[in-house]
């Protein structure tokens, strides 16, 4: 490559950093939301990073009450929030507003020091995962939904990979009438929006007794993915030299062993890529899941509902979204290695 001039370098770095910022800032905001407590959520403009600590000022009052003041950071100094002597109320306030889980009586005993020393600031370490705990508490079926999501995704991958790769192999290796027709039909199937399919599918699944089951949902998700998988894998199968399979047949393997030991490992990158597509369809879909499930909801649907219905705060939904993202990230990271793996030299 030619060397770039300073001007070109500057331009390129400017453009790249802009792109990075455009992508990164919303993500950062989303992350900070997931780790913010209710009080932080009310602050505008919201800071890009969630706070690690909560600082309150406590002013002792007559009749055993304490006035709690909080500095929102708007330059107005401390604002009075609540005045109470009840440990129960204090505990609730601290939990809801600051995401702090501290026993009320303990708070009272901590604050009692102000009786002697006058108004004082107290700093508490925030419970970072409060929102996550709260998400699973607010959305009671979140745990089973996570399990459901994993099951649906696994089933979708299984169905579309087995059927799709077999179809892909047939299209790549055998000449039969209607081969081209099937090829194009697969592409057309891929164009159908799953939402459009889910209403008629609902009817069929109810009749089959598969409504509100994960296998039913996986069947729907597999429809476009079988097509996609056979497209991706057939192009890879075509590229695998027939001699490699023939050599295996000659050197003592039967057809199944040849497929298992030779063809499949060579097509593995294609399998990985298509399984990622299948996974993402199953993992991210909400609308079809909304139509096709009743009690057995998937995680993305639950998160979606949490955003729509939550009166308690968007931060819990954000925490739920992170729970939703992490398995997808882990899966993609595992798969990425194989997608990048190219037989014939370059290993990424």
């Amino acid at each position: 490559m030619n060397k770039l001039s300073i001007l070109e370098k500057t331009m390129i770095s400017l453009i790249l950093s802009t792109i990075i910022l455009v992508v990164l800032i919303p993500l950062l905001f989303f992350l900070s939301t997931a780790f913010s407590n209710a009080t932080e959520m009310t602050v505008f403009p919201k800071s890009l990073f969630a706070k690690r600590n909560v600082t309150v000022k406590v002013v002792p009052q007559d009749d055993g009450k304490y006035e709690i003041l909080y500095d929102y950071g708007k330059g107005e100094g401390y604002t009075s929030i609540i005045t109470t002597s009840s440990g129960e109320k204090l505990e609730k306030h601290f939990q809801r507003q600051y995401g702090l889980m501290i026993n009320g009586d303990k708070l009272l005993s901590i604050f009692s020091i102000t009786r002697d020393e006058g108004p004082k600031e107290f700093t508490f370490k925030k419970d970072l995962f409060y929102n996550f705990k709260e998400f699973f508490k607010v959305v009671p079926n979140a745990k089973s939904a996570l399990k459901n999501s994993i099951i649906v995704a696994a089933l979708t991958i299984l169905i579309s990979l087995t059927l799709g790769s077999m179809a892909g192999y047939a299209i790549a290796r055998y000449r039969f009438t209607g081969r081209k027709g099937i090829n194009i039909t697969l592409l057309i199937v891929r164009m159908f929006p799953t939402v459009g399919l889910s209403v008629p599918m609902a009817v069929i699944l109810i009749k089959m007794g598969l409504f509100d089951t994960m296998i039913g949902l996986a069947l729907l998700y597999s429809i476009p993915n079988i097509a996609l998988t056979s497209w991706i894998t057939s192009s890879i199968f075509v590229g695998i030299n027939k001699n490699l399979e023939e050599a295996s047949l000659i050197f003592g393997a039967n057809r199944l062993q040849t497929f298992w030991h030779i063809t499949l490992p060579l097509a593995f990158p294609a399998m990985a890529a298509s399984s990622m597509y299948s996974f993402l369809t199953a993992w991210n879909d909400t609308i079809s899941a909304l139509i096709l499930t009743n009690k057995n909801q998937t995680l993305s649907l639950v998160v979606y509902k949490a955003i729509g219905s939550s009166s308690s705060g968007i931060q819990y939904a954000a925490a739920g979204s992170i729970v939703l993202i992490i398995p997808a990230l882990v899966f993609t990271m595992i798969i990425r290695k194989y997608i990048g793996q190219m037989w014939g030299g370059v290993k990424l």
């Binding site: 001699n243 490699l244 023939e246 000659i250 393997a253 062993q257």
Partner: protein, 365 residues
Amino acid sequence: MSYFEIKDLQKRYTKGGPLVVDHMDMSIDKGEFIVFLGPSGCGKTTTLRMIAGLEEVSGGDILVDGHSVLALSPREREVSMIFQSYAVWPHMTVYQNIAYPLKLQKIHKNEIDSRVKEAAEITQISGLLDRYPSQLSGGQRQRIAVSRAIVINPKLFLMDEPLSNLDAKLRVSMRTDLREIHNKMGATSIFVTHDQSEAMSLADRIFIMNRGKIEQVGTPMEVYQQSATKFVAGFIGTPPTNFFQVTITRTQDGWYAMNQDVHLRIPERYQQALLPYEEKIVDLGLRPEFINPYSGTSEIPFSKAKVNFVEQQGSHAILITTIEKSIVKIEINDFFNVKPGAILSLTVKKDMMGFFDQTTGKRII
């Protein structure tokens, strides 16, 4: 009875289509190194693939040790094959590639290990066992393929143009190695190629094929010096045989092969066979090295030719000359200072001419 036999073998790719392999018969003895030689599309690779079981047979039979193998799958035929594209598996290490056939036979690990190492020793790739094929050169990959082929003790070694993807120098050294390995293993080998120098240097017997048929079977010397058909004479030899359409004419001085430009007196020993062809047109074939641009005692003058240019080859030179419009190539070992444009009187060595029937292509004498 021969070790390996093919009887009336036929192959069509489409129903009612042309016969790619046309009623072929052959028999091969144990320990022979056989080369199938022919131009592309002559059915040599198809025949090999049918022997391996990779291709369906449309008719006829293939016998190994007197038993038909047609009903057997490729793995049951106990053959091994070396492909033009090497066909080493890229996702396995060299060791795994060689061990694969043994693993499938469920042989004990220790034995696999010793046999793989022995095979690698023979092909000189012992140092590469842990590498992947993608890290190796074409020659090294072909050595893996050879190791894999010899690690099982096959009834037949099949080689489908194994050297054509290698560079010229490697090809020559590799073919010596292949022949050495064949001798060492006492194997029976069938080698497919379109390269005649490969065929000549390797083969015990060459099967020359054309359009699905065997044109001639013979040792390299036989097919070269006693080419059975016009096709073989034209195919074997670089440069190939020069052909002239001549009429056999009897005059008062004797027999002549004549056309407008050629006037060749036919030696007596040819005359008996040419008797039925009197006053008929036949093909006269003269090999480049038996035509000489000067006259000696044992040579017969036949034509005049103009030199177009000279191809210097070091040990010899090839004169590209024209007689009227047709090109005639002549190999000379001395007399190198011929200049383009020179007119030469051509002579031919006495016993080195061939006459071919125009309709059947078969050699008359």
